[in-house]
Symmetry: C2
Subunit: 219 residues, 2 copies
């Protein structure tokens, strides 16, 4: 599911209350309607949207009553800042993902070969702590990113449009690029890219060579 569809679904307080309820236990329509104080008709409409998106599923019990439950694990992250608006949604990675391939990150948590209930509960506690630490780390990284972008902005003198300057500079940093390549990579019109490059060339920050545009500090 893409993050836009997920944000549309989650942008409704009653749908969030339904999800919160279903995360505690499977429910049928009347139960949900009474719990959140919304007509069964409106509940059915919310459930239809959630079901179409694959977020919830239903099953019928012995009394032929239809119960809804959450079907999927999904995670959404949104960052809003003067330097960007980004949202991404993803399903939890399966176990075959190798965390040791991370270059800047090491995790220390034991969650293999757990047999006893006590070990499982211990692992649950550790994982919840780690989840919290990862959130804190994300916020720290965001703050560092803004600092670095602010400093780049000061160096380049680009003001509030500095994010696109920084993206441009980061893109030409490792290898020289043409205006066309930069336009495609940054999803911006060629004229905009060309204008930005010319103004940075005037400042002596970038230069055009036979290989394309590059940082003058590389020269």
């Amino acid at each position: 599911m893409d993050s836009a569809a997920l944000l549309d679904l989650l942008g409704n307080e009653n749908r969030r209350r339904i999800l919160r309820l279903l995360a505690r236990k499977p429910c049928y329509v009347t139960e949900i309607s009474e719990y959140i104080g919304v007509s069964p008709k409106a509940v059915i409409e919310h459930l239809r949207k959630l079901e179409e998106a694959g977020l919830i599923e239903s099953h019928v019990d012995d009394q032929r009553r239809k119960y809804f439950h959450i079907a999927r694990n999904v995670r959404l992250e949104v960052t809003v800042s003067p330097y960007g608006f980004a949202s991404k949604s993803a399903y939890p990675t399966n176990n075959s993902f190798d965390i040791s391939t991370c270059r800047h990150l090491t995790l220390d948590v034991a969650c293999d070969e757990l047999d006893e209930l006590d070990e499982l509960l211990g692992a649950l506690e550790e994982l919840e702590q780690l989840e919290n630490e990862l959130s804190l780390a994300q916020r720290w990284v965001q703050s560092q990113l803004y600092d670095v972008l602010d400093q780049i902005s000061e160096t380049v003198g680009a003001g509030p449009e500095s994010r696109i300057y920084a993206d441009l500079l980061a893109t030409v940093r490792t290898e020289p690029k043409s205006v066309g390549e930069l336009g495609r990579e940054l999803d911006a019109p060629r004229e905009v890219i060309a204008e930005l490059l010319e103004s940075m060339a005037d400042e002596g920050i970038v230069q055009r060579t036979e290989r394309g545009w590059e940082l003058t500090t590389n020269g």
Copy 2:
């Protein structure tokens, strides 16, 4: 800003498009209206909501034209799963946050004392990689959490309500608790807690002692 208010704001495609536009550069109403193909009146209403929430701000330039820009760094995380629905929003942590206090997490990234543009761009690249690795790690942790909760569920035999069983067991794991204490900690009615504990006592998973309810494996 709480995550519910943020989700309400972000649950609208046109507001997301406005934020995406403003993250690139400050804009005035007519510009936004033309860019996203929505009437100026509707744009003004979206801007009002975003401004009231503190997400955007405006300033007036020399030609007395009112420009809007993103005012805040804010981060939102949402997790939906059969075991829970959780959302949290937070501002980036300032630099005084000490990442070394994390128990399960180590970061390896250099972003201190950067002077040259080339160093800044290098740090930007490292931080963006780390941001990506942290996202992957979060998804991995989610997947591990579900595995552990599934295993607890199998052990306890609680079916789809196992999240509340797991929370209960995790809460009594480290020290015995009374029904009243558990009700307050888990934000659930006393009767529900008492019933769950009795059923787990029948299974021999927990026991009531003079000090309160505790895991039988501790005994």
